[in-house]
């Protein structure tokens, strides 16, 4: 058991080290996130009532788009230099190795995205309850995005055209967006958000259970 844990941590460390050496891969989607959010006050006027209503929705939708842009980085360099083939040949289960890579993606991209989203929430002066709901939904939601995203990235890795990835993935992201927005909406009018949070947490558990297995299978198919 501890051997598996060691392997998990080794892959996690390796991916994080690689990401810190090549920061642009993960920082660029974050910059995209901030820039797109800044576009909205410029378009609607900085203190319009309309913008106040839209802010949390804008933050979530932009988070989805930025995640789609960041996803390719999970497997691309490994696919290009052939180390992904080495991973599939390793004597450890591919599911384990893949879940380490997905965890690394969330730590490198999901966590900073969460913090950046909160910062932009401050800039756009969201209310306290809304910020809290936004924080919780992003905390539960971004790992789901990384997990589901890993499946589709594994399927499309090495295919030409990045558009395909976003076409496949955005329909699968819609439930996360809907529940998060319902939670934020309820929070902004002072109602309980427990139901939405439970549903998001349920989806997270489901994704953690199934997504690494599916990603491993998809990778094997892609490399066959």
């Amino acid at each position: 058991m501890s051997e598996y844990l060691n392997i998990f941590l080794t892959i996690l460390q390796r991916d994080m080290k690689l990401a810190f050496r090549n920061k642009a891969e993960f920082i660029n989607p974050l910059m995209f996130f901030v820039i797109v959010i800044i576009l909205f006050p410029l378009a609607f006027g900085s203190d319009s009532a309309l913008l106040k209503q839209l802010t949390s929705g804008i933050i979530w939708v932009t988070a989805l788009l930025a995640t789609v842009l960041s996803l390719e980085a999970i497997f691309r360099t490994d696919f290009e230099d052939g180390s992904i083939e080495q991973l599939t040949l390793a004597r450890y289960p591919l599911t384990l190795l893949v879940s380490a890579k997905i965890t690394a993606h969330w730590i490198i991209f999901g966590l900073p995205l969460l913090l950046t989203a909160l910062l932009t929430g401050f800039i756009l002066s969201l209310s306290e309850q809304t910020m809290m709901a936004l924080f919780i939904t992003l905390l539960l939601g971004t790992p789901i995005l990384s997990l589901i995203g890993a499946i589709t990235v594994a399927l499309t890795i090495g295919l030409r055209g990045g558009m395909l990835l976003s076409l496949l993935i955005l329909p699968l992201y819609m439930p996360v967006l809907i529940f998060s927005m319902l939670a934020v909406e309820n929070a902004s009018i002072g109602q309980s958000i427990a139901a939405e949070i439970y549903f998001l947490a349920g989806m997270l558990v489901l994704a953690i259970t199934l997504a690494p297995i599916t990603t491993a299978t998809a990778l094997r198919i892609r490399l066959s």
Partner: protein, 256 residues
Amino acid sequence: MSLYKNLHRWFHQFASPKYFYDISHTISRWTVIICIVCFVCGLYGGLVLAPADYQQGESFRIMYVHVPAAWMSLFVYMVMAISGGIGLIWHIKLADIVARSSAPIGASFTFLALATGAIWGKPMWGTWWVWDARLTSELILLFLYLGYIALQSAFEDRRVAARAGAILALVGTVNIPIIHYSVEWWSTLHQGPTITKLDKPSIHVSMLIPLLFMVLAFKTFYITSLLIRVRTEILEYEYNTSWVKQLLGNHNNVTN
């Protein structure tokens, strides 16, 4: 035990492309007849015999296309996912072909359901489109189909394409109930189900019977067009084998 063996043998025989190519011709002949008969009966019953609805007037009659198309859109997705899964697990070529051939048909059914719904919605709700739960999940279903088709065309190797598509379809299957319930949480404008309440359906028998005919017609239409697609795909898949060469050779001789 011998029954099991026979079943097993039959299953493998049925899954062999050559056998299926021969037998599907016979099957599709019958299904096309059933399809035409059911279409005629269903359309006559629905458009002429059934009384006008006391609230919706004549425009409820579009239901005879809308409801079967909406049912088929989900049914075809299930067929696609299940046969994709079979192809993935047991490496049965025919299952891959069925999954691949189902996608465009299913997408068309989904589009038909959305289009007829919009046409019906204009006089009834006063708008072509509302962001209601069922409409939204049907639209997302259409995007799932289109994504599947896009993924299929991105691969050059058919084997890899079929298996990658199967994964995507299975992921979509897990997602469909979640998508359905997530959009259900919006307040819903769409009328509740009237037919699934089997003990006491809230639709009159004179309206129900044509609908059942139309459902059967749509189902046999799906089977027929699926078989035609599958037969073409089999020929493309197996163009290197001797039986296809022989078949095409004979055909060329006849046409020459």
